[in-house]
Symmetry: C2
Subunit: 143 residues, 2 copies
């Protein structure tokens, strides 16, 4: 599925008349190799350590592209940094965020999603996206 994502990105780039560059390939590779919720800074450092000479700005610009291309999603937690997570087609999940150790557990809940649709409809809203984050202490940090 990594190849699939690369294809998605290449198609996107082609369809928009953009260019395929060494930097974009590297950033995509490294992004795909990461776990969820990486911040731009973290990704930048990872890239820097293995492939010197890619600038801060390029990482920011490229992640935005990934988001446009539909293979990354921007998430804003409580730490003042923009983070990105992988998008898996048709799947959505929310987050349990530990306020002590910052660990994140993902979950999905159909019922909540359905209720959200209902609420939106009731208020005349057309849902674009949503974000549900539950903050608290994770199992490890409770003790």
């Amino acid at each position: 599925m990594i190849l699939e994502k690369k294809k998605t990105f290449n198609d996107f780039v082609a369809s928009k008349g953009l260019r395929s560059t060494r930097q974009r390939d590297i950033i995509l590779d490294i992004f795909l190799s990461t776990h969820q919720h990486i911040s731009v800074e973290e990704l930048y450092l990872k890239i820097k350590s293995s492939n010197a000479g890619i600038g801060h700005a390029t990482v920011y610009r490229t992640l935005k592209l990934f988001a446009e291309a539909g293979l990354a999603r921007e998430i804003l937690l409580h730490d003042g940094q923009t983070r990105y997570e992988h998008v898996v087609a048709g799947e959505h999940h929310d987050h349990l965020v530990c306020t002590r150790c910052n660990s994140i557990v993902e979950f999905e809940n159909e019922t909540i999603e359905a209720l959200q649709k209902e609420i939106a409809t009731r208020h005349g809203f057309q849902i674009g996206s949503h974000k549900l984050e539950i903050y608290g202490l994770c199992a490890n940090c409770r003790t």
Copy 2:
């Protein structure tokens, strides 16, 4: 209930050995007179227009105090500004945010709250707080 909030704040200030100042009174008054979801900058401008000579920093510091005192809650929407809303004891609501006109509709849903508790329990989390935001187009902007 505005008086009640002032009392809450005075008690908080007293109990922490902090001081009651002209600026804090003014900021509290104006904050209480606002509608929901005001940003620090908006509040600052409001204050400045009626009571010249209160600094940016003081507004930031004071809103943090209000949050600690439990009468304001920080909310982070998608617009890169920290906003505060009034806390009404024991009440919680979530937000429908219009991505075109930035209007916000609040809602409450007991079932969603209950499901969240269940999910947290299942993952060993102890809930501190949560945030649910649904982004989309409001009734006016859909057309």
